[in-house]
């Protein structure tokens, strides 16, 4: 006991003990540092994975948004075309659909008359000189031509001559809309015919 007390009072022994303690502390710090580095690496890996997941989710959300917007346009187009029996309103809504959903300000809507002639019943951006059924541009320079038919009965055509300057080409959503217009615009035109004729 006495010998040990004497040893601790010896500066050399005390320094040695301090060095041992410091080395232990250093070792402990080094171990913590290694653990922290591992944890940091793991967190970075998780962050990268989350970023990737977020980017994928953003991409998927964008696709869903685009699909939703296309479906909304289809719903609204059908709703608007069948929401009235009035010929003028049907034609004006058809024009709105093509201007706002397709993006064209140069198109004509043509209808087969009972005499089987083709008559232009609505137009945007075309001059009156372009004529009715004899429109020379009907079969040329078209951006799109939508055949309007129902139950294999040909009702008419929508001829889109030009898209808006900032819209370089038709998109898949436009083709879906054209498919809807094919029968729904035909049905709306047929349904509004009697009231128009009566007028």
């Amino acid at each position: 006991m006495r010998h040990a007390v004497e040893d601790r009072s010896d500066p050399c022994v005390r320094h040695t003990e301090e060095i041992v303690e410091l080395r232990l502390l250093l070792h402990d710090v080094e171990m913590r540092s290694v653990l922290a580095s591992n944890e940091l690496r793991e967190l970075r890996r998780e962050r990268d994975a989350l970023r990737k997941e977020l980017a994928n989710a953003a991409g998927e959300l964008s696709v869903v948004e685009t699909e939703h917007a296309a479906l909304t346009s289809l719903f609204v187009a059908a709703h608007q075309l069948h929401g009235t029996m009035d010929r003028e309103t049907v034609l004006s809504r058809l024009e709105e659909i093509i201007v706002n959903f397709v993006g064209s300000e140069e198109f004509g809507v043509y209808e087969h008359t009972r005499g089987d002639e083709l008559r232009r019943i609505a137009q945007v951006g075309l001059s009156d000189d372009d004529g009715d059924g004899r429109d020379p541009r009907l079969l040329q320079d078209l951006a799109a031509c939508i055949k309007l038919e129902i139950d294999e009965r040909l009702v008419g055509y929508i001829a889109i001559y030009r898209l808006l300057p900032h819209k370089p080409a038709l998109e898949p959503a436009d083709l879906e809309l054209f498919n809807l217009l094919k029968t729904h615009a035909a049905a709306a035109l047929l349904a509004s015919r009697p009231s128009h004729d009566a007028q």
């Binding site: 917007a69 609204v76 709105e96 706002n100 993006g103 900032h166």
Partner: protein, 122 residues
């Protein structure tokens, strides 16, 4: 708190589609069918943003935009012009009238929502 957007367009087809898109993204929507009506609705409803068509009866979008900038209670409401033409002169005229941004038809809803959020946040 839900933000309120005033949609100004003379086409019921456009207002219907905008109402559906904006409602789905938690916006309240009020509608006006021409520029003149838009000023009255804006002063009554105090919207957080106005989506303004250009070609409309009675008063077009440019003139309505100028008038809104002169009205004390609504002069600082952000306005996004909706135009069929993205050409320089049309866009310049929109900014001169006091609009904050513009979108072209056919409207891309993702682009529209991004611009709406940017305008409302800014």
């Amino acid at each position: 708190m839900r933000k309120k957007i005033l949609v100004v367009d003379d086409s019921s087809t456009v207002t219907l589609v905008q109402r559906m898109v904006l409602s789905r993204h938690a916006f309240d929507v009020v509608v006006a069918s021409d520029g003149e009506e838009a000023i009255g609705v804006a002063m009554r409803e105090l919207p957080d943003l106005i989506l303004m068509d250009v070609v409309m009866p009675k008063m077009n979008g440019f003139d309505a935009c100028k008038r809104i900038r002169q009205e004390e209670s609504i002069h600082d409401v952000p306005i996004i012009m909706v135009t069929t033409r993205g050409e320089g002169t049309n866009v310049e005229r929109g900014f001169e009238s006091g609009c904050n941004d513009y979108v072209t038809k056919p409207i891309n809803s993702t682009e529209l929502l991004t611009k709406i959020h940017a305008c409302i946040a800014g």
